[in-house]
Symmetry: C2
Subunit: 192 residues, 2 copies
């Protein structure tokens, strides 16, 4: 779940690099003064899953890449073109943990406007407990609730999604969780 | 709700225009052979709302721009950077209909992989019935259910979201609707 590395590229001396308001628009866009290209930048969607085996254990991946290399995360990543959100979440579970999953519900939608990211985290069933690290993971594992390495989770949204999953065990047809309120965060802290 | 016009720019003879697999990646990306810029393309988020006044009437906007100029739509548009999904939906309601709204629930999440778009449609309360056309609308209006111009709706997702809204009247804490199944579409057709 690469919270702080939206895909971007280019250097200050080439490609789109000048902020200007294009004709007919109401805000500045990044444009290339050489070729006129307008690099529209829009929020990126991260898709991921809390993937659960029959015995309740949850799949986590230890990141092999920055940011937060060595910390544990949910299988998640940037949605690609021409896939659905659920297909994207399943693809990431395969890429990062060789896990085959079946999506069950939309667990959470997290807005992170600071980095223009929307995270859509699904609840999913693991179709097999046989998982192994993909190229972006150092190791992967199935964790009982009591075994989750809370102090070694990579991103706040991983903690949030795990908590929300636990709060919704056995429930169906629920509204997805949104960013936790300060009250919710305080309640979770008291439970540690 | 601009279904078929993701923001894009540039011509075939300038800017990112060559598909190639960058080092360390597993798929082709659009790159500029002149400056080396990689134009990552990711799905775009459309945010919108079924905005309802106290008497149950629903806000619709008649499009002043292509595609589907002259047809009725929900206030919706591409999410911008550094805003939340709900802020984006409220912004679009203001821009297209000078409507002030308060988001109530996530009504629907529609995947449109063909055009790499994810639509997040909220249910919202109109804070005032005083609405007027913004620059992208020919006119705006509040419609009773029986008055909705079903044959003049701009996009399938507008129809879907209105139907799902109607199916959830009085309900709270529900899972957002996903793309309708063939069975659901057939049920709606029978109701016409």
């Amino acid at each position: 779940m690469p919270n702080d590395t939206p895909p971007s590229s280019g250097s200050p001396s080439s490609g789109p690099r000048v902020m200007t308001i294009p004709p007919g628009e109401d805000r500045e866009r990044l444009t290339c003064p050489d070729c006129g290209y307008i690099a529209y930048r829009n929020p990126l969607i991260v898709v991921g899953a809390v993937a659960v085996w029959e015995d309740g254990r949850i799949l986590l991946c230890r990141r092999a890449i920055e940011p937060r290399k060595g910390y544990w995360t949910l299988p998640a990543g940037f949605m690609e073109e021409r896939e659905s959100t659920m297909e994207g979440a399943a693809r990431e579970a395969w890429e990062e943990a060789r896990a085959r999953i079946e999506i069950d519900a939309l667990l959470a939608v997290y807005d992170i406007p600071r980095i223009s990211q929307v995270q859509m985290i699904f609840r999913a069933r693991l179709l097999s407990p046989d998982v192994e690290a993909g190229p972006e993971s150092q190791e992967v594992g199935l964790f009982r609730w009591q075994e989750i390495p809370w102090d070694e989770l990579a991103f706040p949204t991983v903690t949030w999604a795990l908590r929300e999953h636990h709060d919704r065990l056995g429930r169906h047809d629920f509204a997805p969780a949104l960013n936790p309120t300060p009250d919710t965060l305080a309640r979770w802290d008291r439970m540690l």
